[in-house]
């Protein structure tokens, strides 16, 4: 049985607004519908979608904070909303934009509180704390009140807080938001190590497609409450009809290059951009171009995942 088992999950919200005059309108918003997927233990899954697509709603249902309106949902064999406190021992959650640490207390105190709350054995706690403090570079910050920490520091604190009790699953809701490039890189490295060494299952929602590229072999794309894609990264590129680009610098300006298997997208003086399917090899095209034209230089650009996703979002609903 998969660790996270979701079938036909749905969540509808009723939104009451005060319209013009005294009348109140009542609209039903289907935040999530017909959501089906399964995650096995040890996977690292990226969960992406535009704003309002239903990512946070899904996480809330998975952690038991929100009751689904319909469908079947089991995490580690438990129904999250019914067995919330039992499940709590086995999961860790990092909320990107708000902290679960105690604002006025030093970081160390927050961790100790969590030790008491989760009932972590003292030696296990010390070992974990030492390891995360070192990996996430928190040594100097342990005695600083949380409210004085920078966003990146707080995020590292939150991650430590979520992992002290050795959860099987770690949910991260937009963890790299607002971080600088260096911090993002360090965080991704940490998460990779975590998954590799401890086998922690990771489910990561994010807007940052670089996170996906760096971390997740598997990607789920959600839009308007339903999955539009579930597979690995390579398949995502193929599905998105993404193309690679061959940038050709000719010795002199010329008309559009004509070569089988590639189409010219753009020209700018002697430089031309040719696109060809992602799964095709660049070699024959390069050879053909070099054979027929006087080439000064060539380079290949990988597909832009942004375009891929945008393309997927733009697809009409598949119900």
């Amino acid at each position: 049985m998969p660790l996270i088992d979701v079938r036909d999950l749905a969540r509808t919200f009723v939104v009451r607004k005060r319209a013009r005059g005294m009348r109140r309108t009542r609209t039903e918003v289907r935040a999530v519908r017909d959501l089906t997927f399964a995650v096995e233990s040890g996977e690292m899954v990226g969960y992406i979608g535009p704003n309002g697509a239903g990512k946070s709603t899904t996480i809330k249902m998975l952690t038991g904070i929100l009751v689904p309106t319909a469908g079947h949902l089991h995490v580690a064999g438990l129904e999250p909303s019914r067995r919330r406190t039992d499940l709590a021992r086995r999961i860790g959650v990092v909320f990107g934009q708000r902290t679960s640490l105690w604002w006025d207390l030093p970081l160390r105190d927050s961790f100790e509180l969590l030790q008491k709350i989760y009932g972590i054995a003292p030696d296990r706690y010390r070992a974990n704390l030492a390891e995360f403090v070192e990996l996430l570079d928190l040594g100097d910050l342990l005695d600083t009140p949380v409210r004085q920490l920078s966003l990146g520091q707080r995020m590292r604190g939150d991650i430590t807080a979520a992992l002290l009790h050795d959860p099987e699953i770690l949910y991260l809701d937009e963890p790299t938001i607002g971080l600088d490039v260096v911090s993002k890189g360090r965080l991704r490295e940490f998460l990779r190590t975590l998954n590799a060494e401890r086998g922690t299952t990771l489910l990561l929602t994010t807007h940052d497609l670089q996170d996906i590229e760096a971390l997740c072999r598997r990607v789920m794309v959600i839009d308007h409450g339903t999955l539009v894609f579930d597979g690995d990264l390579a398949a995502l590129h193929r599905e998105g009809g993404s193309t690679r680009t061959l940038v050709v610098d000719l010795l002199d300006e010329a008309g559009p290059i004509e070569v089988p298997g590639a189409t010219v997208r753009r020209t700018e003086g002697p430089r031309q951009w040719l696109s060809f399917p992602t799964d095709a090899s660049a070699a024959p095209i390069v050879a053909a171009v070099a054979a027929s034209y006087a080439v000064a230089d060539l380079s290949i650009q990988e597909p832009d995942i942004e375009d891929v996703i945008r393309d997927l979002y733009g697809r009409p609903d598949r119900s």
């Binding site: 959650v93 909320f95 708000r98």
Partner: protein, 272 residues
């Protein structure tokens, strides 16, 4: 049902663990802790000074002497003081919802109510309790004690705490529906406490009936104290009301528990 019993069994231990840490943390800011404890002690003492001044003026209030009022005042004060110490933080639930920390609490393996009540456990709230105990002790000196009165007095103090406990929780639950209205609970908790500082005979019978049958704070001190003071009930209520507080308290706690569950259910069913 089994889960509920498990909660009751583990809850005190989990609560104590969390509370201890907050105490340790607040003691590290010794000066501020001392000042705030002093301030809270003075604040509640002021209440009594007001009453004292009043009685200095008139000798007795509606036939009740200062020491008799002190008994009422002390009992009610102990009740709300203990409740405030142990679960007063439940009033902040609106803050937790607004800032998202309620979600963080919900994904932890300790019952939500324990976490909310133990949050920011403040030992300085002992200020109110110690002041009330002092006043009650002074008044108790003049009571004509018998063994049954001692039992009644003990039950009264415990029940008073439970009654205020229930009031705090029940009326704080409105914050599951609107996070703005945290002051709503005050009308019932601190209002109830203030009302019961006075002999209830100063109020018309409608008020007394509300305080007996609607929001039963009268059982926190009034009925038991009438027995302790060997007084006839000015409204002619049955004498056995003096031993009813434990049952009233139990009933109110059940209602509080149901209200809390309804509030949490609403939160998990509609999101925030």
């Amino acid at each position: 049902m089994g889960e509920a019993l498990g909660v009751v069994r583990d809850a005190p231990r989990q609560y104590a663990r969390i509370a201890r840490l907050w105490v340790r943390s607040s003691l590290s800011y010794r000066a501020s802790f001392a000042m705030l404890t002093l301030a809270s002690l003075l604040l509640t003492f002021l209440d009594f000074v007001g009453l004292g001044l009043m009685l200095h003026l008139i000798g007795d209030l509606d036939g009740f002497a200062l020491w008799e009022i002190a008994l009422l005042y002390g009992a009610s004060g102990i009740g709300i003081g203990v409740a405030d110490l142990l679960i007063g933080s439940v009033e902040q639930i609106g803050q937790h919802i607004r800032s998202g920390t309620l979600d963080a609490m919900m994904v932890r393996p300790v019952p939500l109510i324990v976490q909310v009540c133990a949050d920011r456990f403040a030992l300085r709230r002992l200020g109110r309790i110690s002041q009330a105990v002092a006043v009650f002790a002074w008044a108790a000196w003049s009571v004509d004690w018998t063994p049954s009165k001692v039992v009644v007095a003990l039950l009264m103090v415990i029940s008073a705490s439970a009654i205020f406990f229930a009031l705090f929780v029940t009326f704080s639950c409105i914050q599951f529906w609107t996070q703005d209205a945290s002051e709503f609970a005050n009308a019932f908790t601190y209002g109830g406490n203030t009302m019961t500082q006075y002999p209830l005979s100063i109020f018309p019978s409608e008020v007394l009936k509300s305080l007996t049958f609607v929001i039963p704070v009268a059982f926190a001190n009034w009925y038991p104290c009438l027995y302790l003071l060997d007084r006839e009930d000015p409204f002619g209520m049955p004498g056995w009301f003096a031993v009813a507080p434990p049952f009233v308290a139990a009933l109110m706690c059940v209602i509080a528990g149901l209200t809390w569950r309804t509030g949490v259910r609403r939160y998990t069913s509609t999101g925030s």
